[in-house]
Amino acid sequence: MYERPDRYRLIQADLSRRSRIARGGGYSYAAASFGAGSVVQDLGRFNRLLRFDPTARIIEVEAAVTLADLLTVTSRAGLCLPVQPGYPAITIGGCIAANVHGKNPSREGTFVGSLVDLTLFHPDHGVIRVTRENPPGLFDLTCGGYGLTGVILAATLRLEPLAGDRVSIRRVRVGDPLEAIALARDLAGDSLFAYTWHDAAPRGRSFGRGFAYHGLLKSGPVDPNTVVPPYRVLTPAARARLPFSLWQSLTIRAFTSAFWHAEASRPEVTETTLFDAIFPFARRSVYFRLFGRPGLAEYQALVPHGGTETFLRKLRQLILSTRAPSVMLSLKAFKGAPRLLRFDGDGTCVTLDLQRSAATLDLLRRIDDLTIAVGGIPNIIKDSRLPKPVVQACYPEYERFRQELRAFDAQRIFKSELSERLEL
């Protein structure tokens, strides 16, 4: 059952004891906003700005306000959100539920750092204002709680000054991911973003060649009228319109090779808009469309610094031995404190994109073992097949999350495919 309420009383309507789950933009790679037997409450109409205090750098918004919307409004006052995940139509409620990260988590941390307080609805508890202190534990359980504590109605966010809307990008060529580990960490510093891109097509000689990208915001005027340019919002139907995937072994090699050569021939320093820098796929959604109906599989792991080299060496061996259709690999430095089921901590964030296939699923099972072996954590919101034993083995506070969730919601009303798969 799918609902699209447009008034608070409809969200709070009596659904008796039926399981339910809130849905924001629907951009998570895992099935966090739907599940068998759960009423889906699409919060799309709850996209209003409730309070904006530019002097205090605070804004309160409803859960379905998007990152693009927020950037448009806050940029008028020379402000922006410090943490911006990669797609402009992602909602604030989704950012909180998955405790997302942006382009430079080693500098700005994860979304929880921008969150002042939130408003939550649960049928048994009513509408609750949740601060970091009160009710005890609920803030941490909700931020990175995958929507399982209730419907996030609104949130107050901390903003930071926005110095300009142009970004200077420096590109450094790297031979392979191992060479890029230290670079990704060193470049992060105070930059707007720092990440690497690697050709992950399963071929021996040039596997892993790539570039490190380092973006710096250029000081200058911000034009609120153009800070969010027109872009075609990617919908689930549009993304899966192609009945087959164009990312096959031959095309992967051709595309990644062409991309590498195109990048290599560009000047070392280029300039782009803030929008294209923080949302690189918003106007290049063809990347996702090419995965067609079979879809994209992404694996993202946060690997401790000490285990990164081992992880990358073995990952390369696995990709080359399984010949799974991997497309690209990326590294990003991370700094933070792990808690409950949040994807947070110190280390290197390794992301691998693949075309979904039987070989891919086999490879991902093996990467699970590798992640456990090096003491890493997989990103729950990025992986739609992540099994419970892996999450249990990687997240030391898995059991604590379950217990605290049950202490708050003994009936476990909020359920999704993700929560059922992980037995949360």
Binding site: E3, R4, D6, R7, L10, R45, R48, L49, E62
Partner: protein, 243 residues
């Protein structure tokens, strides 16, 4: 400054956003106080206009009209009133629950008539003013369903036709939009192959038509010939139809 009665959801919400984006100050009336507060805050932050909330159940007396009048005086007078207000009831099926019939009639017809009656003299003194009401294709012919709702909407259309006549030669423009199925909560759960109208598109049309003597507008426009065909369907055939 425009008054929108029934502003916090569906067509009313789209109208409020559209008018605010064009720089118009607004008085917004709705029974959903929390949604209304959220909406007025949003319009003020987003568009820099003034949006004044009046939380009221319009089927429950006229006292809210005094609050509109007071706010309108502060905001420089009313340039137009729009009434995207309305409700249907699942039990509106000739079971003739008197309270339900009274409520539907009050909400869909009487409350609008009383508001227009209250503010029309003031509107006549303005250099330019617009009155806009919204009917429904459900009122084209009486059916087994939405009995009192359809009757109220047909009465409303007749009232606005009279208003249009009364207003000839004055500064007031009277418009009536006959709406087909709209993509709003009112049509939630309605399974139909007939395309639903987009409230955003409708709101743009209403804004564009301000001050123009457009009379009766069907939205989406394909409903005009459909309504005409329904109106002329002979009884022997109509009585066999189930919709």
């Amino acid at each position: 400054m425009y008054v929108i009665v029934g502003a916090s959801a569906g067509v009313g919400r789209a109208l409020a956003a559209r008018f605010a984006s064009a720089g118009h100050n607004l008085i917004l009336v709705s029974s959903d106080e929390r949604d209304l507060r959220a909406m007025t805050a949003d319009l003020e932050i987003r568009y820099g206009v003034r949006a004044y909330p009046v939380a009221a159940d319009v089927s429950d007396g006229d006292s809210y009209l005094d609050r509109i009048a007071t706010a309108a005086n502060e905001m420089g007078g009313i340039d137009g009133l729009l009434f995207p207000v309305g409700a249907v009831a699942a039990t509106d099926d000739c079971s003739f629950d008197p309270d339900r019939v009274t409520w539907l009639t009050r909400l869909n017809y009487e409350s609008i008539v009383r508001a227009v009656t209250r503010f029309l003299p003031d509107l006549m003194t303005r250099p330019r003013a617009t009155l806009v009401a919204f009917g429904s294709v459900a009122a084209v012919r009486g059916r087994r369903r939405n009995v009192a709702y359809s009757a109220a909407k047909r009465a409303l259309q007749s009232f606005f036709e009279s208003l249009r006549h009364v207003s000839v030669g004055s500064s007031v423009t009277v418009q009536f939009y006959v709406l087909g199925y709209m993509d709003t909560a009112l049509a939630r759960g309605l399974r139909t192959s007939i395309p639903k109208g987009n409230p955003e598109v409708l709101s743009a049309r209403v804004l564009q038509n301000l001050g123009r003597d457009v009379g009766v507008v069907y939205f989406p426009s394909f409903w005009r010939p459909v309504a005409a065909a329904l109106r002329h369907t002979p009884w022997w055939l109509f009585k066999r139809m189930s919709f």
